[in-house]
C-alpha cells in the first residue's frame, strides 16, 4: 500500500534512514549538516558576544540570560557533580551545553527540521572530547598506575571476585561511558526526527487518500506531530543537560580520591 502512495504523491513513505542523508550541496564538505553546525557555532558566539560585550554588575536583560545559562551549568551541573573543583570546568561545560542544546533544537526549527546530532559523527566528537578529558585528568592527577587501579579495582571485596569485576569495571569505564554518551544523544535526536517524520508525512499521506474518512484522521496525525514537536523541545534540552551532567560526573570521578 505504502509503495503505491509514494508512487502517487511523491512523498517519501515510509520514513527511512535515507531521509537523514539529504544530497550533498557541494561535495562532502558542504552539506546541510555541516552548514547547520557552523550556523549553531555562529549563533552561540553572536549571542554571547552581543550580550556580554559590556557586562555590568547589575545585568541587562540579555546579560542576565547569558548569565543564567552559565549559572545553571556552573551551579546545577559542575558544582553539583564535582564540588568546588567543578567551577574550573564550568566554562567548558557551558559551551558544551549551549552547543548541544542549539544543535538539538534545530530538530524542531522551521526550514532546518533536523538536528545535526542525528548524524552520529557529531555526538562522537563530543563524547571523544569528554573521554579524552576524563582519562587525561585522571592520569595527570593520580598517575597512570594509580588511576587504573582506582578505576578497575573496587576496594573491600574478596580477591577472587576481581577476576569477574575488573573486566566489568574496565568495560564500564573505558568502553561503555563514551559509547553510551555518543549513542544516547544520537539515538534521541534520530528517533525524535523519525517520530516527527512519521506524524507529519503520515498526515499528508492520509490526506492524499481517496477516502474522506481516512482524510479526516489526518487531523490526529498533525495534532500528534505538534504535540511531539513540543516534546522534542523538552528532549533537546534534557539531552543537552544529561550529556553535560554525565561528562561532569565522569571528570569528577577521575578527580576523586576514591573509587
Amino acid at each position: 500500500m505504502s509503495r503505491e502512495l509514494v508512487a502517487a504523491e511523491g512523498l517519501p513513505w515510509p520514513p527511512s534512514v535515507g531521509d537523514f542523508y539529504p544530497p550533498e550541496l557541494a561535495g562532502p564538505w558542504v552539506t546541510k549538516f555541516g552548514i547547520m553546525v557552523w550556523l549553531a557555532v555562529a549563533l552561540i558566539i553572536i549571542f554571547f558576544m552581543a550580550t556580554y560585550r559590556n557586562p555590568k554588575l547589575v545585568p541587562t536583560k540579555g546579560q542576565w540570560m547569558a548569565e543564567s545559562v552559565y549559572g545553571l551549568v556552573r551551579d546545577n551541573i559542575a558544582r553539583e557533580q564535582m564540588g568546588k573543583e567543578g567551577i574550573r570546568f564550568a566554562p567548558y561545560f557551558t559551551v558544551l551545553f549551549c552547543y548541544i542544546a542549539v544543535t538539538n533544537l534545530f530538530g524542531i526549527t522551521p526550514f532546518l527540521q533536523i538536528s545535526p546530532n542525528s548524524h552520529i559523527a557529531f555526538p562522537i566528537v563530543l563524547a571523544a572530547i569528554t573521554y579524552i578529558m576524563y582519562i587525561y585528568i585522571g592520569v595527570r592527577k593520580h598517575g597512570l598506575g594509580r588511576y587504573l587501579k582506582q578505576s578497575l579495582i573496587l576496594p573491600g571485596i574478596p580477591w577472587p571476585m576481581h577476576f569477574l569485576l575488573i573486566p566489568i569495571e574496565f568495560l564500564q569505564t573505558f568502553i561503555n561511558r563514551p559509547v553510551t554518551l555518543a549513542v544516547r544523544l544520537f539515538a534521541n535526536m534520530f528517533a525524535g526526527h523519525l517520530i516527527l517524520l512519521v506524524f507529519t508525512v503520515g498526515g499528508f499521506v492520509l490526506l492524499a487518500s481517496d477516502n474522506i474518512l481516512i482524510q479526516a484522521t489526518s487531523v490526529f496525525a498533525f495534532l500528534m506531530a505538534i504535540l511531539m514537536a513540543f516534546f522534542e523541545v523538552l528532549v533537546a534540552l534534557l539531552q543537552a543537560y544529561v550529556f553535560v551532567t554525565l561528562s561532569a560526573n565522569y571528570i569528577g570521578s577521575s578527580l576523586a580520591d576514591e573509587h
Binding site: 534512514v17 535515507g18 557552523w38 558576544m49 557586562p55 554588575l57 552559565y70 566554562p91 559523527a121
Partner: protein
C-alpha cells in the same frame, strides 16, 4: 535493504562530519572560553563580593552605631551622677551657710543684750552712789541747821524747817 544500497548505516560516522564537528566545536570553545566565559566568572565573583561586601559594611556600621549608643549612655549616666552630686553639694552648702548665719546673729544679739545689761547696772550703781552721797549731805545740812537754830525761838525753828522743805521741793522739781 534499499537503505543500505543508499550507502549510509546510521551508526557509521561520515569522517568529513567528524572533522567539521571537531573544528567547529573547537572554534566555539576557543572563542567563548577566551573572550566571554572568564569575564562571566569574574562578574559572578564581583557580584558575590559586592553583595557580601555590602553586608559586611552594613554590619560594621551597625556595630559602630551600637558602640556610639553605648558610649552616649555611659556619658549620660556620668552626667546624671555628676548633676546629682552638684545638687547635693549645693544643698549641703546652703544648710551650712544658714546655720552659720543664725549662729552669728544669735551671738550678736546675746552680746548686744549683755552689753546693755552691763551699761544699765553701771548706771544704776552710779546713781545709787550719787544719791547716797547727796542724801547724806542733805541729812548733815538739815541736822546742822536743826542744831544751829535750836537756841532761837520757837518761831525761827518753825521757819527753818519750812525753808528746808521748800528747798527740798525745789531740788526735787529740778
Amino acid at each position: 535493504m534499499i537503505l543500505a544500497a543508499e550507502g549510509h548505516h546510521p551508526l557509521v560516522p561520515i569522517w568529513q562530519e567528524v572533522v567539521i564537528g571537531t573544528i567547529a566545536f573547537a572554534l566555539l570553545c576557543f572563542v567563548l572560553m577566551k573572550f566571554v566565559l572568564p569575564r562571566m566568572e569574574e562578574m559572578y565573583q564581583a557580584r558575590v563580593d559586592a553583595i557580601e561586601g555590602g553586608i559586611k559594611r552594613a554590619e560594621a556600621a551597625q556595630a559602630e552605631a551600637n558602640q556610639l549608643l553605648e558610649q552616649y549612655r555611659v556619658q549620660l549616666a556620668e552626667v546624671r551622677t555628676e548633676a546629682a552630686k552638684i545638687r547635693d553639694d549645693a544643698r549641703a552648702d546652703a544648710e551650712a551657710i544658714r546655720t552659720e548665719i543664725l549662729t552669728k546673729a544669735r551671738e550678736e544679739s546675746d552680746r548686744v543684750i549683755a552689753a546693755g545689761r552691763e551699761a544699765l547696772a553701771v548706771e544704776r550703781e552710779t546713781l545709787v552712789r550719787e544719791l547716797r552721797a547727796e542724801v547724806g549731805g542733805l541729812a548733815v545740812d538739815l541736822a546742822s541747821k536743826i542744831v544751829g537754830e535750836s537756841l532761837a525761838d520757837e518761831a525761827r525753828r518753825k521757819g527753818t524747817v519750812e525753808r528746808f522743805l521748800t528747798g527740798l521741793e525745789s531740788a526735787g522739781a529740778r
